[in-house]
């Protein structure tokens, strides 16, 4: 039995010959010195010829297999035993909240022997790592998928929506979705449309800083999401992440007007054009003015048409790309134009062709902030006259998701009306001063 994961060629040969496995305490003799330590699995990004061991002082080192003259096994390794923590006593009267995992880790456990960081996801584990949860809710957890969020596709949004509906039917009073931050805002937009008029709060959250570290923003984000969900103050789909780089406030953002604006900072997620819908600070929820009452029937529409494109215009843009999209039978295009909603007029021919072919072409701005207005300059007016539909101040990514959703659930002739209708707060009515 020799699982020598990651090792290949020279290193694999030398380890096999010595009859050692991962975890064994071994002695390695090289041409110049000797080491003893526990054999670790090979890292992903390293060259084949290096063997990694953990020394008794806890440090890992890599040894060039070509320098090794001998390997001896000192002792067999023990398999790490995991003892799951006990479930705490949680009051039955607390609201029942479901926590769904999609792959972005909410909490982890570290195996110091191997250095592995394993996701911790059962309710017992979450209560153990984030004890505060037991004062706010009775949680149940389910891992729906385990993928990094940049690997997600629109069909994953459909799966998540289905799960949410299932959890609503099981009587949960709130749902938290743990999600990777890369495409979190895409998912929150998708669910905002798919689950319009949701009768309970559905809050998507995650962590910018890895959950193995004591400084991770995961716990505060999760606690705040659970507080928000358990207080039943607002129904609908929201995204919850740190407001600032400090561990105090967490912002509850509208699912359609939030964007990831920094690669790594805790406060990467920002609402654009509106304030966050609510703030959770030290256990207290403050709801802003933007919240709306919702009494309409919950009638989920959860399909998404993947074959839709988002094109960012730039100087030198190759208009043939639009022609290619027509060939690929793309259903619709969202343009990220410049300024008030413009592209180089040499694109107009191809755009007209696309529209005449039945494609929906909508315009948003790569400025992200502000409203488009295509009647101001001739470039915009020309686009309007060929049938490009202005999408006000909808964020480009949200417009893409909405178009996928529209094509997934409605007839072609309905698409335009759906796109210009304000369904899930994706448009703002007024451009507020001083923001």
């Amino acid at each position: 039995m020799s699982e020598l994961s990651g090792y290949k060629n020279e290193s694999l040969k030398i380890l096999n010959n010595a009859g050692v496995s991962i975890g064994d305490l071994i002695k390695i003799i090289t041409k110049t010195t000797e080491y003893s330590g526990n054999l670790l699995p090979r890292y992903e990004y390293s060259e084949e010829n290096y063997i990694v061991i953990k020394l008794s002082n806890g440090y890992n080192i890599g040894i060039d297999a070509r320098n090794i003259t001998n390997i001896q096994k000192i002792m067999s390794g023990e398999k790490p035993k995991f003892s799951p923590p006990e479930k705490p006593n949680v009051k039955e009267s607390l609201p029942k909240i479901a926590i769904l995992g999609t792959g972005g880790t909410i909490a982890s456990r570290i195996d110091y022997k191997t250095g592995a960081v394993n996701p911790a996801f059962s309710a017992e584990e979450l209560y153990s790592i984030i004890p505060e949860l037991s004062t706010y809710a009775n949680i149940n957890t389910e891992l729906i998928s385990n993928i990094a969020s940049e690997q997600m596709n629109p069909e994953d949004w459909t799966n998540i929506a289905e799960k949410v509906i299932e959890k609503i039917n099981e009587g949960n009073q709130g749902i938290i979705i743990g999600h990777g931050t890369d495409t979190m805002a895409y998912t929150s937009a998708a669910l905002s449309f798919a689950l319009k008029n949701c009768p309970i709060p559905v809050i998507i959250t995650g962590a910018q800083r890895s959950t193995d570290r004591p400084s991770s923003d995961a716990s505060l984000n999760m606690i705040s999401s659970v507080i928000m969900a358990s207080k039943k103050v607002l129904n609908g789909v929201y995204l919850a992440m740190h407001t600032s780089i400090e561990d105090n406030e967490v912002s509850i953002h509208s699912g359609t007007r939030v964007r990831k604006n920094h690669t790594s900072r805790r406060d990467a997620f920002q609402s654009i054009g509106i304030d966050p819908i609510a703030i959770v600070d030290h256990g207290k929820v403050t709801v802003g003015e933007e919240s709306i009452e919702n009494n309409s029937k919950f009638d989920p529409k959860i399909k998404f048409e993947e074959n839709v494109s988002l094109l960012k215009f730039h100087p030198g843009f190759n208009t043939e790309m639009i022609d290619k999209l027509i060939e690929l039978d793309v259903k619709g295009i969202i343009l990220e134009g410049t300024g008030l909603g413009h592209v180089n007029s040499r694109c107009n021919k191809s755009i007209k062709k696309a529209i005449d072919n039945g494609m929906f072409v909508g315009m948003t701005s790569q400025c992200l902030h502000g409203r488009i207005k295509m009647t101001v300059y001739s470039a915009g007016r020309d686009l309007l006259s060929i049938g490009v539909i202005p999408l006000e101040d909808m964020l480009p990514e949200t417009a893409l998701v909405k178009l996928m959703w529209a094509y997934g659930n409605y007839e072609n002739k309905e698409i335009k009306d759906i796109m210009i209708k304000n369904i899930a707060r994706e448009y703002t009515e007024r451009s507020i001063l001083g923001r």
């Binding site: 002082n57 440090y59 890992n60 456990r109 250095g115 911790a120 193995d212 780089i245």
Partner: protein
């Protein structure tokens, strides 16, 4: 006590800050503060290990779950220090310095270095861990006839500086965070006082031969691992001054011996691990009418009083054969950690207003017998359970002997309990950084450019550069060593002068409370260049530095001023001629002997503006005319 089985062994671990141009994992420089500060607050949470439990040391720290306040000067810290951005690649410069020092010790660098995360949750690292990497193993330090084996050499991030600490919050400054440190771990050696000091001194000097290590208070720290039974190791962290190092080792020797004596006495009195009858009970009511001011204060604040039975401990808690080594003192430190003021114990009572009668009622309540003692803990009901448990545990550890602990040094050569020692190094890979290979070309390049030894360098200063004995050692030990070596190549001024300004003058000014560390090497270089050109008089060095520190002036400003006010040759002659004219009677009288009077008068007017030598040459010349 049978001392034959116990041998005091001491293992030194030296942490030295490097003087690299950037921090270890980003491009900030930790020494150049600009005064622009950003503040933010965080909470660090304990992590879980596979065992579903947290490590005792981490649990210990996390019980407090404090708020951490961070102050970040925007020149010395960036998003990396704020844990808002992944680390950049490891500094090659720092790596090269570490490899150089490794080769100087004959250590063997590892083939591929793996950066690790080492859990630290007292707040001094914003991430909750310290990045550390082992660079080399093996090697030897030669100290006269002594050879000390080197266990390992690592490169790691320095921690942030504690500004303030109280029960609820800790405040740290991030300027020091992530400055590269080299850590050299020496093998434990039998302790001999003179040798230990020499070892630390020699190792410090060896590192300084590179010219690339930081100098000044706090740039070098020693941790000492002390053990008298060879099994349980006490780590004393952060000894900054060499002269208390041996005091601390001697103190630990006594303290640990005392613990062994306590163990032996307990055994003699019939205690074994399985019949240790520890218990605790609330005794608040016993003090309802007490006259003790300390206790009354606690009761007024709605506090509680708990007594812990210490079976067979009579005479052992207060036992102090050597100052500061009594068990009671350590238990006091232990509860201070949880925010309590201290303890009372049976060996020191009655005292502090607590009467014999009150003591008897305590012993009755605890059902104490002849040789039993007790400990009293008073304070806020809130954290009491944890504190009481920790006292009970500490008493239980007395039957084992010496618990493994981390302690800290005091200014007067004693140690205080800091925290329990972690079970094993809580380290796991820093996966944001790909392991770095140390290729053959790098090894050869480093080996070929190793600095000369301490003795060779001092010799070179004396023989080739012309420094006297005192200045040679001073400049070698100074933070300006590298600058000095650069200047003597670039600037044509006597080396003794340069060395004296960089050591004696700068030290003198810093003793006058001037912040001379803010003056950069570049600024100093400019001053010497202008001294060479004559714009700045040699005598002015001190006043210029003072001006820069006190009045926040920039060197370029000062040089421009001097250039504008510079006296030409003609100006100088004019002034001197005037003086000669003024003093012509005296000159007539004394002839060449009037020189010193003229010189005195001239320097009165020209000191700081013109070099003394130039003035004296001019006077000679004009006199002779």
């Amino acid at each position: 006590m049978d001392k034959k089985n116990y041998e005091l062994k001491v293992g030194l671990e030296i942490h030295q800050q490097l003087a690299s141009s950037t921090k270890l994992f980003c491009n900030c420089n930790g020494f150049n503060v600009n005064g622009n500060e950003v503040y933010f607050k965080r909470i660090l949470r304990p992590t879980q290990s596979e065992l579903g439990k947290t490590d005792p040391a981490a649990l210990f720290e996390s019980k407090k779950s404090k708020q951490m306040n961070y102050i970040a000067d925007t020149n010395t810290s960036c998003l990396v220090e704020a844990d808002e951005e992944p680390p950049h690649e490891i500094s090659q410069e720092a790596l090269d310095i570490a490899l150089t020092i490794s080769y100087l010790l004959g250590s063997e660098p590892v083939d591929e270095i793996h950066v690790m995360r080492k859990l630290v949750i007292d707040g001094s690292n914003t991430t909750g861990f310290q990045r550390t990497v082992i660079i080399a193993t093996g090697g030897e330090l030669h100290v006269r006839d002594l050879t000390v084996p080197v266990l390992s050499i690592s490169l790691e991030e320095d921690a942030s500086r504690i500004i303030n600490k109280n029960k609820e919050e800790s405040t740290y400054s991030l300027d020091r965070l992530s400055i590269p440190l080299i850590e050299i771990t020496l093998a434990p050696m039998k302790f001999k006082k003179e040798e230990t000091e020499k070892i630390a001194l020699t190792l410090g000097r060896l590192m300084r031969t590179t010219g690339k290590v930081a100098r000044g208070i706090g740039t070098i720290r020693q941790d000492v691992n002390i053990s008298i039974d060879g099994k349980n190791i006490i780590e004393v962290k952060g000894v900054q001054q060499l002269n208390i190092l041996t005091d601390i080792i001697e103190f630990e020797n006594q303290r640990q011996s005392n613990l062994i004596k306590i163990k032996e006495k307990l055994i003699e009195r019939g205690i074994k691990e399985d019949n240790f009858n520890i218990k605790s009970t609330e005794i608040t009511n016993i003090f309802n009418n007490t006259n003790s001011k300390l206790i009354k204060k606690v009761l007024e604040g709605n506090g509680k009083i708990i007594a812990i039975k210490a079976p067979k401990f009579r005479g052992l808690i207060g036992k102090e054969d050597h100052k500061g080594t009594r068990l009671g003192r350590d238990i006091s430190s232990l509860v201070k950690f949880f925010g309590f003021g201290g303890i009372f114990h049976s060996d020191e009572l009655p005292n502090y207003g607590i009467t014999e009668d009150e003591c008897k009622r305590v012993t009755d309540k605890l059902e104490n017998e002849k040789d039993d003692g007790f400990i009293i803990l008073t304070g806020d009901a809130e954290n009491m359970d944890v504190a009481v448990k920790s006292i009970e545990n500490r008493l239980l550890q007395c039957i084992i002997g010496i618990p493994a602990e981390t302690r800290m040094p005091t200014e007067d050569g004693m140690t205080n309990f800091m925290r329990p020692r972690p079970g094993s190094a809580r380290m796991y890979p820093e996966t944001d950084i790909i392991p770095v290979k140390i290729y053959e070309e790098k090894r050869i390049a480093i080996k070929e450019s190793l600095p000369r030894s301490y003795e060779e360098q001092i010799d070179n200063y004396k023989q080739n550069i012309g420094l006297n004995d005192k200045l040679s050692v001073q400049i070698f030990d100074s933070k300006y060593k590298a600058l000095f070596e650069k200047l003597i190549k670039e600037v044509n001024i006597p080396a003794n002068y340069i060395a004296a300004q960089l050591t004696e003058t700068m030290i003198k000014l810093s003793r006058n409370k001037l912040n001379v560390t803010r003056i950069t090497d570049i600024e100093l270089g400019k001053i010497f260049k202008e001294i060479e050109s004559g714009i700045i008089a040699k005598e002015s060095f001190e006043t210029i530095i003072e001006d820069m520190c006190r009045n926040d002036k920039k060197i370029d400003e000062i040089i421009n001023e001097m250039k504008e006010n510079r006296l030409t040759d003609k100006d100088i002659e004019k002034i001197i001629l005037k003086i000669i004219d003024m003093k012509k009677e005296i000159i007539k009288e004394k002839g060449n002997d009037s020189f010193s009077i003229l010189m005195g008068e001239a320097m009165k007017q020209l000191r700081g503006k013109v070099d003394g030598k130039i003035v004296s040459d001019k006077i000679q010349k004009l006199l002779n005319n």
